[in-house]
Symmetry: D3
Subunit: 226 residues, 6 copies
């Protein structure tokens, strides 16, 4: 790993582990409010080795070693894994040797715990629902989980304008049928829909890349504390 | 509530609900790394109506209405309740009418979930241990909780240099006897001891005011997102 | 605190922390079966400082210090806090210095655990649902909780005859949609509807003031045991 | 079942399902404070078919059908099963056709939930510990359970004066090693030791027969409510 | 207990604790695939003392002592209790003195944990639902439980061809309304319907006698390991 | 994938995902009791791409894609992943297209649930303890988990005779300090120590490869059921 120039501001690398440029661009735009003059740099990148879309457990597991290598070799001060499966979160933490590594599912869910009593997740597909159930149990926050509802979309579609109504329908079902009072968008790249979904379903809606990047921002700033 | 000058940067008000000036000053110093040029303002204040130290449930409950009034009347963009009992968290959220309100226990614990598998809390006293058990259950994260260990100190003592060995002893017991692999300082004002305790006990140690203030920072920045 | 006349029978003070006289009268009537000749006295009182109805978390928190003062100054042998938010339960216990203090939500729920496998709660409003979810988690009995259903009523309305159909509708939804097999009335003052709701929905229905007062009765009697 | 004389006060039958007369007598004495002039009758009886002591799961299961027959044939208004295994609780409830049936483990534990954050149980033997773990999980209150500690005694010994030091040793281990702040005596017939154990270990100690009988008292009184 | 001829292959005794010959025959047929040449013998028997159908908790408890006696007296190497209430599982284990005793509910549920994220159970009746809720809590696997749905049948009907549509309807409700992704048949004797139900509802369906017998097969084989 | 000869008996492939031949041989020997004349074939293989020992999360994640490819290409009827991290369990299940895939941690733990009330795990190292905690939470069986105790060994050492005392020491601590009443060996290749550890610590000890292979045996036999 090449050493980082310590006179420069801290740098956070947000890695979209799929190869969809549209998703990467959408993530980049969503993080604009977190970029302060003179503050930490927030860079967003693709993972060239990643699949077009992460739909299966195999897709998610296929990006773990590329993520590990990328983080091990990169001089950034903190990392965000910008896929809602949080692929390789614990292996990447080992590779980061103490530098913060934030998962977007993890932070989308943690932020939800402070905005409502029971969170729901809008999932891309039925397969994602099953991964999310495992993740929520692994986090140990199942007592706060209202459930996940699938939209049956692919990750690369998530920035499309046409996603709006499907997001709203799934979000509404989470609130009305499952008793959610806060909803997490269960995919990267859907930030542009966040406000409209929140307005339509009448409860807070969380964009998880923003939450993980904000957490990384706090972590790099606090690392300069004595 | 007087309107805030919207041409100024966003403002976060951190309220120490006890009346100990030493604790307020220690909190203020701990938040320095989060103050960026041109970024959100982080102000720290006492609650004059608060007790000298919050040791009992009555102490904690006694500051709820003063906190509610303070937040209702204050034009800040976000608030941190800087007492590890998170007194009045949900009532203050009602009073804040949508502005973020962060509790330090809440955020100290949430951050711990990302740094280890089981968190322990160093508590001021045996009475605090019981409140923390209720709080952890209420948050729904008990499956990740190794326990709390008391130091038998008062909140106003927490910035004293003499606290170091007591913090280390309690932290070590959490790791060695209770199986914690990350420790949260269960009181405001102990930031100066954080690094030394972490070094002594060999696992991450979290200062909760820093975490709640970092979360408030992220929240106010993201509120400018479309 | 003035000393109690120990030649008199023990005295239990039931405090309705809102200022609705109709609710107080309904509670008083509901406790009649627990008054035995020569047995403990069951007195019911308003809390003059209380709001007309406890609808928000602020309402609930606003009565904590008045309850604390009332109990600290009163010579009764045991206390019941007769509001389903169990406001100030733990602070009042500190103030009671060992005398039993019973919450109606607490005891309504505990009794439910002995009458069915999964309990549901009829809530006054959506805001009460959220408080009840926190309370159930804090009690650590969430594995037995089918959920809460709101009626959108105010506490002061609860003794009205017109409440019956709304109670039955909410109770039926708890049974048929949420899988409850026992229902707790989530408010004081609804005792007159209990039997009719139970008959309509076909499962046990619990009036929580009666349960908390019965628990206080047992506690004061047992305190005379060696 | 012969009809009960409804002009008489209600009657609660407390059944000690083992055949130890010493235990039955100790239970009878422990319930004296709950007997009010003109109030419900509290009768205590052996189960002649029961074993001398209930030590194994087979012992516990062996009394279920005798308890079912006894309750089905008895005209009492409520029943207490006075063995800490709560043998046959759900079968006996079926046989009681709506009349209250209270288990002493159940009510000892429920009362503990109102006196501390984490309850411990003093068990007769290691085998009882395993049954208690199953029972606590079945009740769904495991988040409040500090654990059980065995004394290695037989039920018929429990009224002996010599039991005191063993109870205190087990109770102290529950508090000091397991983090209990309230202790339940996990056997019938130990009421005479309750106050001394509480005094020695410095936290509330619960005698479960008293709690179940008090609950039955409340239930029969409330059944006369409209 | 008469000694077993140790030159013969190990023997597993599957006990149907009700007296329905049709159910016993259906169990026997379902286990055919587990019978290997030279491998362990799988014998299936009625319990003559058992009721025609196990519908209530009293029915379930009534077979415990007969099961205990049967197992204590029988020289088989392992036992399966082939009723979905797992009656007497822990008492029979005591009586088996170390020989494996498998419950069909237990093993149907454990196998389900490996085939999906959330299991549902098709129950005979509403009363069975309540017993299943207690059993799932006692096993400590409630976080994986989607729920039970009753068919309102008697155990002796379960081998009837007419049961198919009722099984499919209940299974479909578990999947579509309760979020199950694997379904357990909550009764012995329904193996002939398993494949058709799985095909109709589109997720794995588990026949519990087969799972418990397979587990007993593994256990007796492994007992010959050094 | 080449088609399997369906006239041959079913075949179960047990894959040791590390490259230690000693571990593979130890697994092979441990499965001998499950090989019946004419019954399913149990083959054990290395994963040549695997590391010498799986000690870190990166080690575990590094074998997922090789396991996926191996299983996708292999005509066996069922698979066992013979590493206690259960690496890639869900991705491999996708790749197996309906053929059973069993994890050894999963089945070691499930079998433990039938032999005691609280299971403990002997772990290779402190790092394994953390992975086990995540795995137990993900399985949703944390209410039955007494904890893990590390031996600080490498997987390739596990078949050494010298491991015996370290296994016994860790097992004893699980029983005496953590309250376990059944212990799972948290690594493949330790079967030769199982009986001695069980004898030394006085409770059942489970070898997880045997349990997963037994489960696979049952699954392939039952797939021939109608």
């Amino acid at each position: 790993m090449q050493p980082r120039d310590t006179t420069a501001p801290p740098r956070i690398l947000v890695i979209n582990p799929n190869a969809s440029r549209a998703v990467t661009d959408a993530i980049d735009a969503a993080l604009a409010p977190l970029r302060l003059p003179g503050g930490p740099v927030l860079a967003v990148t693709d993972l060239p080795e990643g699949p077009e879309s992460i739909a299966t457990q195999q897709d998610a597991d296929s990006v773990v070693l590329p993520l590990v290598r990328r983080v091990a070799d990169d001089p950034s001060d903190a990392f965000v894994i910008a896929c809602f499966s949080d692929p390789g979160l614990h292996a990447v933490r080992e590779a980061a040797r103490g530098r913060p590594v934030m998962g977007i599912a993890e932070w989308g869910i943690l932020r939800a715990l402070t905005l409502g009593e029971r969170f729901g997740i809008v999932a891309l597909s039925e397969g994602s629902v099953r991964r999310q159930r495992r993740m929520v149990r692994q986090m140990g926050v199942g007592d706060r989980y209202a459930g996940s509802r699938p939209m049956e979309a692919r990750a690369s579609e998530t920035a499309d304008a046409a996603m709006g109504p499907r997001l709203i329908a799934a979000g509404r079902a989470l609130v009305e049928r499952d008793g959610a009072d806060v909803v997490v968008l269960g995919c990267a790249g859907m930030a542009r829909h966040r406000a409209a979904v929140a307005s339509a379903i009448g409860c807070p809606v969380i964009e998880p890349c923003q939450q993980a990047a904000a957490a990384a921002l706090g972590a790099v700033l606090l690392q300069t504390a004595p």
